[in-house]
Symmetry: C2
Subunit: 348 residues, 2 copies
């Protein structure tokens, strides 16, 4: 026992070991970060709890984001861990309105991992980086003994540049703003889950993994009325919207029958008893925009390959600050709460 | 099978699965990178194969580096995985002569990992970041099922700024340059190895983990005659020097009795039959500098806490380009080859 330990005891927590739900993006993830991480690395940028840090670099604004991918299985309908790792960080870098430029890639490989699988993953990463227009400029490879990791884990960290002065952040929602989702929800998470459970549907459920930086660029070209943007990955749209509402201390009111979900995904959700609002997406964004600019932004999104199913799903209200509600088709209002954890780990 | 697969078959390699040596920083690591990675992510920055990318960002020069830490055990004499993860990336960012500014931190945690251990690691990271003067601005946490990773893996990625126009790189060695090492070799690797094997020596072998950005700054303050710098981690000094010689197409001639190794470390190396030149360091740098400036640089290094044992260990020669030799105490010359792999994985 050392002195640091004596002067800084472990904060009181509900669990004395790490639980799967600590990594699921829900309440337990927040607890872990708030109780253990933030007190250690306290600074304004980190405390903003965005998916990316917006930093000053020699007077210019830089977007910086990191994400590790541990998805299981590593090959799933619609993609694999490689393109997920590229698109995921491209999207996190872009969500503050930045143009992603450079990526680092770091691999942890398990001894015995098939070279052919690695080759396939690298090809997917190459294609994904080309599609997103980013350059992989540095990397690292670690190999661990068989059994010390599960096949392959990939970290990507990205740098982008902000070419505007906007503050696009979760704390910037304004009463009256419209909530736009760029397309159907729950595709990625259900693709991974159904492939794990061996479920088959008439139409295969496919991951929506895609780079959203082009879509973001087009949106910014037509409007500076974008207040918040985020890609609802772990924890799904419900988690993103709850974080928005809490961070801005405003209410969010959703309209049930506007939430776009593909029929086969809806079917899979019903079979597994999962609410699509809580399922991870990997090629969708939620944008909170001014009422005035909502029509032009929506139209611009619909003209883009990755925004063609964009739709307004609700608005920002003064009532119930910090809380997300949904008006059901019967006219009732229910609370859309933050999830405690996710049923399934390793969705991304 | 898809079309990409058909048009881009797996290159011919000696192994059809990943071997531990592919991650050891030696010849097999190079093979993997040259054969599988570089053909996919081909660009000038990545092909330079430095430990950091030097990038243009809005007309300014930016240093960008990533590293994943999988060291086993996670607590070892002289440090733990947390401070190693901070210092390791701080050093990689700094070795091009940059001032490290920002870090991202990404954790992979195994279900059941003790919260108290995580807390200790976070305290070490906080202290290490403060000591190095860098800010942790963004992060990510993933949790995987028990058995899917070994306790904790940490990725850190860093950004620094270059405040000069020098090209400090492995390809920049000049005939007549002096090779300086900042202190004793093999401390970190032998600390990890002896703690794993349960060996005890009269004086405990301790890791040298330390941030070197302050030392680098002082060196640049007194001289712009620095041609190359690198911290010899995985694969040790022998690997770094071989990469320098190969990259610059010059010879390197070392003098045996100048190589600084602590007596207890030397003892541990002898017991385990390991050459200290091939063992990982985590708080040392090798600098290749002009003959003229070598004295002032050396003196400056000796005045710094992390350079007090700095010494000239050899020089750059026109003979045997691409090859590192060592003059033994008997006057003979032996070749210091690149290692094929390391005996032990997970040293950092």
């Amino acid at each position: 026992m050392n002195i640091e330990n004596l002067t800084c005891p472990l904060p009181i927590m509900d669990h004395d070991t790490i639980q799967l739900a600590h990594g699921a993006g829900g309440k337990l993830s927040s607890d872990l970060i708030d109780t253990l991480f933030l007190p250690r690395f306290s600074n304004k940028t980190l405390e903003a709890m965005e998916d990316q840090a917006v930093l000053d670099f020699q007077g210019e604004r830089l977007s910086f984001s990191t994400d590790t991918f541990v998805v299981d299985p590593i090959f799933f309908p619609g993609g694999n861990i490689g393109e997920l790792a590229i698109n995921g960080t491209v999207n996190d870098v872009a969500m503050c309105g930045a143009e992603p430029l450079y990526l680092s890639v770091a691999f942890i490989l398990e001894e015995g991992f098939p070279m052919e699988d690695l080759h396939q993953i690298l090809i997917s990463m190459e294609n994904a980086a080309n599609n997103a227009g980013v350059t992989i400029v540095t990397g690292d490879t670690k190999v661990v003994n068989k059994g010390s990791c599960d096949k392959i884990f990939i970290n990507t960290t990205g740098i982008g540049v902000l070419n505007h002065d906007l503050n696009i952040s979760s704390g910037n929602l304004q009463i009256g703003d419209r909530i736009i989702v760029s397309g159907t929800l729950a595709d990625h998470g259900m693709a991974v889950m159904t492939s794990r459970k061996g479920l088959s549907f008439q139409t295969q459920v496919k991951s929506d993994t895609a780079p959203l930086n082009g879509l973001v660029k087009n949106m910014l070209n037509v409007s500076h009325g974008i207040h918040s943007m985020r890609d609802p990955t772990r924890g799904g749209a419900a988690t993103t919207l709850n974080e928005f509402a809490k961070s801005s201390q405003v209410g969010i009111s959703l309209i049930d029958n506007t939430i776009p979900v593909k029929p086969n995904v809806k079917g899979a959700c019903e079979v597994l008893g999962i609410d699509p609002l809580y399922v991870a997406n990997e090629g969708k964004l939620i944008a909170v925009v001014t009422e005035n600019d909502a029509p032009i932004i929506l139209e611009t999104m619909k003209n883009h390959e990755f925004g063609k199913d964009a739709v307004i799903i609700g608005e920002v209200v003064a009532e119930h600050p910090g809380i997300v509600t949904m008006k059901t088709s019967l006219g009732a209002n229910r609370i859309v709460d933050m999830p405690v954890g996710e049923q399934l780990p390793r969705i991304c």
